[in-house]
C-alpha cells in the first residue's frame, strides 16, 4: 500500500497528484518536496493530505522556497493542496 503513496500520478497535462493520506510527519513534507523537484516549471502538484500538522507545516515551508500554495479543505479530515511549481 505504501508504494502507492510514493508515486506521483499524472492526472492531465501539467497536473500531477500525490496522495499522502494516512502518512504522518515527516513523510508528507518529504514526499511533496521530492515530487516538486521532479516536476517542470508551470506544472501543478495536487496533494491529498489528511494529517493536520502537515497541513499547517507544509505551506509555509513551500512558500519560503518560492512555491505558490492553495489549500482547500475537502471535508473535516481531508485537504487538497495545490502547489504551483513556477516560482
Amino acid at each position: 500500500m505504501i508504494k502507492d503513496k510514493l508515486r506521483v500520478e499524472k492526472v492531465s497535462e501539467g497536473l500531477y497528484r500525490l496522495d499522502t493520506r494516512g502518512l504522518v510527519c515527516p513523510y508528507p513534507q518529504l514526499l511533496v518536496i521530492r515530487a516538486l523537484n521532479s516536476l517542470s516549471s508551470k506544472d501543478v502538484l495536487e496533494v491529498l493530505i489528511d494529517n493536520p500538522p502537515s497541513v499547517r507545516d507544509i505551506p509555509p515551508i513551500l512558500e519560503e522556497r518560492g512555491y505558490k500554495v492553495d489549500v482547500i479543505q475537502l471535508d473535516n479530515m481531508t485537504w487538497k493542496m495545490l502547489v504551483r511549481v513556477s516560482k
Binding site: 508504494k3 504522518v24 515527516p26 513523510y27 494529517n51 507545516d57 473535516n76 479530515m77
Partner: protein, 507 residues
C-alpha cells in the same frame, strides 16, 4: 523521486514518525519532537550514548526521559528525520506513531510498553516481566494490523508487587500476582486520566488470573478488541476506556475469554502487595550488587550528562541503564565496593542524591514544547516547588511524607497529576486581556494498593504563588493529621471550605 528516498520511506513508515511541537507562543522554536520508544526502559550505555549524540547533533543537546520510559528529543527538522531514523534503526529502536495529529478516530498505535524498571534484579520480585514487555513490543512494532487503532493504546506490565508502572493509568495493565502458590498475572483495563470521554478513569481490576504463557495472547486479544469494537465515530470517545465503560467488565471478560478460548480462573487477592518506586540506592536480588536510581526531576538532561551517566554504567555497572516511569535513570549492577564512588561522582556532577524522595517520585510534563501552556511551565514549576519544599521542611520531613507531586501544564494531564498526592494541572486564563498561566490544585490522587483520583481543592492559582500554597497545604496536614493518616485521606474528610483555608500563603 530518488530510489533511495523511496526505499527509506518504505522502510520507515509505520515504525517511525516525528510529532509536532505546536508551540504557538514560539518559546522554544521547536517544530517537531522525536519520541524514541525504549521498551521496558532498558537500554545499553552505547545506545544511550548514541541517543546523546543524536540530541547533540539534532536536538540542541537536550533530551527528556518520559513517564512511559521513552527518550524524547526536540528541535527535530523533517529534512533530518530519515537520517535520524536510520541511526535508530541500527540501534533497534522505533518511535511513537503520533497518530493523535489526525482528525477522527484512526491511526492509533500501541505506545511504549512500560515495565518495572528493575525487572529481573529486584529483591522479592514475583515475576521478571521484561521479556514479556519485549515480546509484546516486537509483535506490535510496525505491524500493519495494529497501526490504525481508534486511538493510542497504552500497556504496562509489572512483576515486582508494587505499582511502579502506575497500572491504573494504562489501557491494559498486567500485574504479577500469586494465587494459591501459583505465579501469574491479573489485568486491569480502561485507565486514562486525560479529559477524553467518559473523562478521567482509573483502570478497573478484572479479577481474572492469567498464566504467564498467556500474557502475550491476552495482550494481542485486548488490543484487537480495542481495534475492532472501539468507537470510531468520535475521536473524543475513541480511547479504550469508553468501550470498557459502555460494556462493563462482565461483557469484556466474556469476549476476551471467547477470543482466548477458555474461561479464566477468578483472582480475589490483592493486586499490589507493597509500595515501591525503586528510588535511591537499593540492594539487588544477587547479594553484593546494588542499583542506583538517579533523580532527574522532570526527566530533562543534557547530552553531556547522558554521556557521563553512560560512562559510569560502563565503569561501575555492566553497561546497562534503565529508565523509570517517573522520569529517572537507574544504573544497575553496581558492586558494593563501587557504590560510594558512583554516588560521590553523581553528586559532584550535580545530581541531588541526598535530596528528598519527592525528587524520585514526581513527574512534570513537557508543556513548554506542546504549546498548550505558557510560562511557568510544568518541569520548571516542579523543580521550583520541590527545591522550595526541601528548603522549607527539610529532606527528612519530606522523606517521612513520601509525597508525589505531579505537574501538568494543561488539562490533558500528560503528567498524570490526577493520580499524585498533590497534583497541579495548568491552564490559561485571561486577566486584563492577558493570558496568564494558572494551576488547579488536586489532592489525594494515588496509584497502587488504593488507587484514587485527586479532588480539586482550589482553582486558578497563579504560577508564582503555587509553591507557597503547596507548602501551606503540607504544613496543615503535618500539624493536624492522625498517626498513619495519608495526605489524601486527611484532606478528603474536610469540606472544600476548610481545605481552601489551609491554602493560605505561608512564606
Amino acid at each position: 523521486m530518488s530510489l533511495r528516498l523511496a526505499e527509506d520511506i518504505e522502510k520507515f513508515v509505520g515504525r517511525y514518525s516525528i510529532g509536532r511541537d505546536s508551540n504557538p507562543y514560539d518559546t522554544t522554536g521547536s517544530q517537531h519532537f522525536l519520541r524514541i520508544k525504549i521498551p521496558g526502559g532498558v537500554l545499553s550505555s552505547d545506545q544511550f550514548r548514541e541517543i546523546a549524540l543524536l540530541s547533540s547533533k539534532y536536538g540542541r543537546g537536550f533530551a527528556e526521559i518520559t513517564d512511559r520510559q521513552d527518550i524524547q528529543l526536540h528541535w527535530i527538522r523533517a529534512e533530518d528525520s530519515l537520517g535520524i531514523f536510520g541511526v535508530m534503526d541500527k540501534m533497534g529502536f522505533t518511535t511513537d506513531m503520533c497518530g493523535q495529529g489526525f482528525g477522527g478516530a484512526k491511526y492509533g498505535d500501541v505506545r511504549n510498553v512500560v515495565c518495572c524498571p528493575v525487572s529481573g534484579i529486584e529483591r522479592n520480585e514475583i515475576f521478571d516481566s521484561y521479556p514479556l514487555a519485549k515480546e509484546i513490543t516486537r509483535f506490535f512494532t510496525g505491524n500493519p494490523d495494529f497501526l490504525d487503532l481508534p486511538r493510542k493504546f497504552k500497556i504496562s506490565i509489572s512483576g515486582c508487587g508494587a505499582d511502579c508502572t502506575r497500572a491504573v493509568i494504562n489501557d491494559l495493565a498486567f500485574v504479577a500476582v500469586r494465587s494459591e502458590g501459583v505465579t501469574g498475572f491479573t489485568i486491569l483495563i480502561g485507565g486514562s486520566v486525560g479529559p477524553s470521554l467518559p473523562g478521567p478513569r482509573l483502570a478497573k481490576p478484572t479479577r481474572i488470573f492469567i498464566e504467564p504463557k498467556e500474557v502475550f495472547d491476552v495482550a494481542v486479544a485486548v488490543v484487537e478488541i480495542h481495534r475492532d469494537y472501539g468507537n470510531r465515530e468520535s475521536k473524543a470517545k475513541a480511547r479504550f476506556k469508553w468501550l470498557v465503560e459502555a460494556w462493563g467488565l462482565e461483557k469484556f471478560i466474556s469476549i476476551l475469554e471467547n477470543k482466548i478460548g477458555r474461561e479464566f480462573p477468578r483472582y480475589d487477592g490483592p493486586v499490589f502487595i507493597r509500595r515501591a518506586d525503586h528510588e535511591g540506592v537499593q540492594p539487588q536480588k544477587i547479594e553484593g550488587y546494588w542499583y542506583i536510581n538517579i533523580p532527574i526531576l522532570g526527566g530533562r538532561l543534557t547530552s553531556s550528562l547522558m554521556i557521563q551517566i553512560a560512562d559510569l554504567a560502563d565503569k561501575f555497572g555492566n553497561g546497562e541503564l534503565r529508565l523509570t516511569p517517573t522520569q529517572n535513570i537507574i544504573i544497575p549492577n553496581v558492586k558494593e565496593d563501587s557504590k560510594k564512588t558512583v554516588l560521590e561522582t553523581l553528586a559532584k556532577t550535580g545530581f541531588s542524591m541526598n535530596g528528598s524522595k519527592t525528587r524520585w517520585l514526581s513527574v512534570g510534563c513537557s508543556s513548554d514544547f506542546c504549546g498548550k501552556a505558557t510560562d511557568m511551565h510544568a518541569k520548571k514549576m516542579l523543580k521550583d516547588i520541590v527545591e522550595y519544599l526541601e528548603e522549607y521542611f527539610g529532606v527528612e520531613t519530606l522523606n517521612d511524607l513520601g509525597l508525589r507531586i505531579n505537574v501538568s501544564g494543561c488539562p490533558h494531564d500528560c503528567g498524570a497529576s490526577l493520580v499524585s498526592d498533590i497534583g497541579l494541572i495548568g491552564k490559561q486564563i485571561k486577566v486584563n486581556d492577558c493570558l496568564i498561566q494558572v494551576y488547579d490544585i488536586f489532592i489525594g490522587g494515588s496509584t497502587g494498593e488504593k488507587p484514587s483520583l485527586g479532588i480539586c481543592i482550589e482553582k486558578n492559582v497563579p504560577a508564582e504563588e503555587l509553591k507557597f500554597r503547596v507548602a501551606s497545604l503540607i504544613t496543615s496536614y503535618i500539624r493536624n493529621r492522625k498517626t498513619g493518616e495519608d495526605i489524601g485521606n486527611f484532606y478528603k474528610k474536610h469540606s472544600n471550605e476548610k481545605l481552601k483555608n489551609s491554602l493560605g500563603i505561608r512564606r
